[in-house]
């Protein structure tokens, strides 16, 4: 172990990273992971002492958006060292080797590091037509996934496609696309990091957690780490006060939009979406979608392409909500209404559902949260 400690500290020095910067990074990671600050020192200790674990990154029905997100890691700069602490032995988007030499690199990990490597999966896995909708090196994605995930210490399904099926699985799911969990049932240590794409800081957080405590963090019912997906966007939104005060964007570019009013009436899905975007932001906390004036589209939730669309239709109304309501009551009742709607359906289904190519009218507004005409917002969106 002494050898790897030396190597790591040398690596830091080579990159001009002082020990102080490194400890500062560990402090930031405790925030991302929602751990007490005192754990920072423990994280530092653990990372310094770790051997370099092997990671392979598989891409199936993907757009490489999560790979690109991975390349944006950088807050603070030492974060890419943390990713370097992993030996990334297979990642088609960045690896130098190609063709059978690339396949050999993967086979070597599966064989020599059996039960000890981490696999990241990006993209859904098509199961229709014997797997011909995605082949790599002539092999079906499903067969590759079974073999590589089956032999891994842990599988991280990154992005909503790998975690929940995502866009390829949106109705009518032309290729029989499945999430990793559904395509390869029974995997041990499967963790979902959804969002479209996933925020790299949550991947870094997950890896740091694993290196520090030698186990994975607490998960919710969708196998998402609570540290990143434990609270709704709405609960932490910087525009929440405007929601509570009944101040909404009515038209794109109007005064309310410029001031930063709530985007609820423009279709924001923040109330039913669980992720830490408002806390950690994107691109090293430069901004986030609501910060740039566009509603949340709910991208970290299962089936969001079907259940959160039409994106610009607002969530169902609820008693006490709306511009004419008593401002003091709105916040409490509105929150209760959203909670009730969420509890009633798991998700609030908007507009039309698409089932096997047929359009099926679905419940637009949960019965539990039926609005009275008087208290509903004047503009009801474009639900058809």
């Amino acid at each position: 172990m002494a050898e790897s400690r030396n190597w790591f500290l040398e690596e830091l020095e080579r990159r001009g990273v002082s020990r102080r910067d490194f400890l500062g990074f560990c402090g930031v990671m405790t925030s991302v992971l929602a751990l007490p600050k005192s754990v920072g020192a423990q994280i530092a200790e653990a990372i310094e002492n770790k051997e370099k674990p092997t990671l392979v990154w598989l891409e199936f029905q993907d757009c490489a958006g999560n790979s690109e997100s991975f390349l944006r890691a950088g807050r603070p700069n030492v974060a890419d060292i943390i990713l370097d602490v992993l030996s990334v032995d297979y990642h088609e988007t960045i690896m130098a080797a190609a063709g059978h030499q690339a396949e050999e690199a993967l086979a070597k990990v599966v064989e020599e590091k059996a039960g000890a490597y981490i696999v990241v999966v990006e993209g859904s896995i098509p199961t229709g037509a014997n797997g011909v909708y995605c082949t790599i090196g002539g092999k079906a994605a499903i067969d590759i996934a079974r073999e590589v995930c089956g032999g891994a210490a842990a599988t991280i399904a990154i992005g909503t496609c790998a975690a929940f099926g995502g866009l390829p699985a949106a109705a009518p799911n032309p290729t029989g696309a499945l999430s990793v969990a559904d395509a390869v049932p029974g995997l041990k240590n499967l963790i979902n990091l959804p969002a479209c794409p996933a925020n790299v800081e949550n991947l870094v957080g997950l890896v740091v957690y694993y290196l520090t405590f030698n186990r994975f963090p607490a998960l919710d019912k969708y196998r998402r780490p609570l540290f990143a997906y434990g609270k709704s966007i709405h609960d932490n939104c910087e525009r929440r006060a405007h929601f509570d005060a009944g101040q909404y964007v009515e038209d794109w570019g109007d005064e309310g939009h410029r001031i930063g009013y709530c985007l609820y009436k423009k279709g924001c899905k923040g109330p039913v979406t669980f992720q830490n975007c408002p806390n950690i932001g994107w691109n090293e906390n430069t901004n986030w979608p609501i910060g740039c004036g566009h509603p949340c589209i709910g991208c970290a939730e299962p089936d969001f392409w079907d259940k959160m669309t039409p994106f610009y239709s607002h969530l169902p109304s609820f008693p006490g909500f709306g511009l004419h309501s008593n401002v003091d009551k709105v916040g409490i009742l509105a929150t209760a209404g959203v909670a009730a709607a969420f509890a009633a359906h798991g998700f609030v289904q908007l507009g039309k559902r698409y089932m096997h190519g047929k359009q099926v009218e679905a419940a637009v507004e949960p019965a539990a949260a039926e609005p009275s005409k008087q208290s509903a917002p004047e503009e009801k969106g474009d639900q058809s």
Binding site: E10, D62, R72
Partner: protein
């Protein structure tokens, strides 16, 4: 005759397979196959056209803006929405910064390792490397000590035997020709460019909330409010921040990317004689420098045939057709005809080998890509096409930079029609756009200063204001070339949707006449010293910057079931 298969082709977006016949040290014939299919256009059917941009955006996370742009343009064209001048400027900034970032990433992270041998860099002398770097650029990070540090870092990698993503590659291949010092310089800049791209793309966080998958597009405009005095808007602080990002980007392109490109190219001039491809070039044109349908485009549209730079034909959208003769789809009236995107049909019919397989049946259908043709001809699209059309149309800055690059390398204009020409054109385009960004940002700031804060044509937001039935087309120049979306809207819903994508133009298979696609044509005659290590094939394929997830699409205008796939 040796049959060479490269699958997966790595350092690209998506899943690409190349098969080639190699004899006498050169490629005799080649086939390009896309091996992944999602069916996004089918998924779009029946949905709200204002949502389509988010769906199509997910076609690709590398060129993460391009399908969103083409989609909102197609829907705006259909319903008659007119984005205000500020939306045009915001989009120009988004599109051009995408292109600049994407091209730099392509050069260093996707393409460089075809020319640069990392292991050779270990034997470089840091002092000589510093002299080399200082001789071609006054970039400040060019000291002996700096390069010694980089060499140490690379040495650490190699000595630990954990090469990670650099493992099992073709290091030491005789086709690598750079001296160790040039290799070390390039490796240092590979690492710098990783930091640079992460920093520069923050401009997309200001303009789109995040990258990848910006979230500020709207049918009719953009969602980023503008107000110099508001925290929740693009304001004076964010404009200053973007100005700084643009200035740094231009500096990096001028002082690192272009000098590296010319330095590397000077050792590989013979690659100006390989990879010419189909010799026809198609450009839709991009970056409106004014408003309305007839606004001038900063990079002009046009068509060049047979490498003839004396004539640029106007682009006619009616001449675009797609063939499926060698694709895994069927046409009702037979697979030998071409169909225009508005009449397009796609009935998937997989007739390839059942996985796991060793070889495709290249006499039959062998790809999930169709074969787009213009006036019946295969066309190359992308940076080379754009620079050729701009050059031939009299674009002064492009002419100046093309002349400069050719002069530096001591080659004539015919060198442009090649693998090396493609690499050079991408660099020239990056510089032209890096220089242009600041002007668009200033124009935006001027508008805001005058009190013009409009960002969206709200008059067409409500679907009740749309015609009952309408069609529209949206054209865009993506980093990888000409992109078109065609949409048919009925009763406020998408009735059909079709994308014809740059990598479909470039990577598509043969058509009914047997004409190869641009990748296939470019590979013929390509040298292959060792069929076990077909490094040279990667050079030419990567020079196109493949983006395979973009290329595969499907339309089913008659609502057919899509699961009748036959496996033979």
């Amino acid at each position: 005759m040796t049959h060479v298969v490269v699958d997966p082709v790595t350092r690209i977006e998506g899943h690409l397979r190349i098969e080639a016949e190699v004899d006498g040290g050169a490629v005799q014939d080649a086939w390009s196959s896309s091996t992944m299919f999602r069916g996004i256009e089918i998924i779009l059917k029946g949905r709200d056209p204002r949502d389509a941009w988010a769906f199509t955006q997910r076609i690709c996370g590398v060129c993460t803006t391009v399908h969103a742009i083409a989609s909102i343009r197609a829907v705006e064209n259909a319903i008659g929405a007119e984005p205000p001048p500020n939306a045009r400027l915001l989009r120009n900034l988004i599109m051009a910064s995408q292109m600049v970032q994407d091209h730099v990433v392509h050069f260093y992270h996707l393409h460089a390792l075809d020319w640069v041998d990392i292991v050779s860099a270990l034997s470089a002398d840091p002092g000589a490397t510093a002299s080399l770097a200082q001789s071609i650029s006054d970039w400040p990070l060019s000291s002996e000590r700096y390069f010694a540090g980089v060499a140490e870092r690379v040495k650490g990698f190699v000595e630990r035997g954990q090469l990670g993503p650099f493992g099992n590659a073709y290091w030491g291949h005789p086709a690598y020709r750079l001296p160790p010092e040039a290799n070390l310089m390039a490796v240092a800049h590979y690492l710098e460019a990783l930091d640079w791209q992460r920093e520069f793309i923050k401009i997309h966080a200001y303009l789109g909330g995040k990258n990848p998958h910006l979230q500020s597009f709207l049918v009719g405009g953009q969602a980023t409010p503008l107000d110099l005095n508001q925290q929740a808007s693009i304001n004076i602080t964010t404009i200053a921040a973007m100005q700084q990002l643009i200035a740094k980007a231009k500096n990096f392109v001028e002082k690192v990317y272009i000098p590296d490109l010319l330095a590397v190219a000077s050792f590989y001039k013979d690659w100006a004689g390989y990879g010419s491809g189909v010799g026809n070039y198609l450009v839709y044109g991009e970056f409106p420098d004014g408003d309305g349908p007839d606004a001038p485009l900063f990079l002009p549209s046009g068509v060049i045939r047979n490498q003839d730079l004396s004539t640029v034909e106007p682009f006619d959208p009616d001449k675009v057709t797609e063939y499926v003769t060698h694709s895994w789809y069927d046409y009702d009236a037979g697979n030998d005809q071409g169909l225009h995107p508005f009449d397009g049909e796609t009935n998937p019919n997989y007739t390839g080998p059942q996985p796991p397989y060793d070889r495709l049946d290249t006499d039959g259908a062998y790809s999930w890509l169709k074969s787009p043709r213009y006036d019946g001809l295969a066309m190359e699209v992308g940076p080379l096409s754009r620079m050729l059309v701009a050059y031939a149309s009299g674009h002064e800055r492009v002419q100046e930079l093309v002349g400069f690059a050719l002069g530096q390398l001591g080659v004539g204009p015919e060198a442009l029609f090649s693998t090396l020409g493609r690499v050079a054109a991408r660099g020239i385009e990056t510089l032209v756009l890096a220089e242009k960004l600041d002007g668009w940002l200033s124009e935006l700031a001027d508008n805001m200063g005058r009190g013009d804060l409009a960002i969206c044509d709200n008059s067409k937001w409500d679907p009740s204001t749309w015609p009952k039935e309408c069609t529209g087309a949206g054209f865009h120049e993506a980093p990888r070339g000409a992109l078109g979306h065609w949409v048919h809207i009925k009763d406020g819903e998408i009735a059909r949707y079709q994308c014809v994508v740059p990598s479909t133009w470039n990577a598509g298979p043969r058509d009914a006449m047997g004409q190869p696609g641009p990748y296939e044509a470019a590979l013929i005659g390509n040298p292959v010293e060792n069929p076990e290590q077909p490094l040279e094939i990667l050079r030419t394929v990567h020079s196109f910057d493949p983006c395979m997830a973009c290329g595969v699409h499907v339309l089913d205008p008659r609502g057919r079931e899509l699961v009748k796939v036959r496996v033979q």
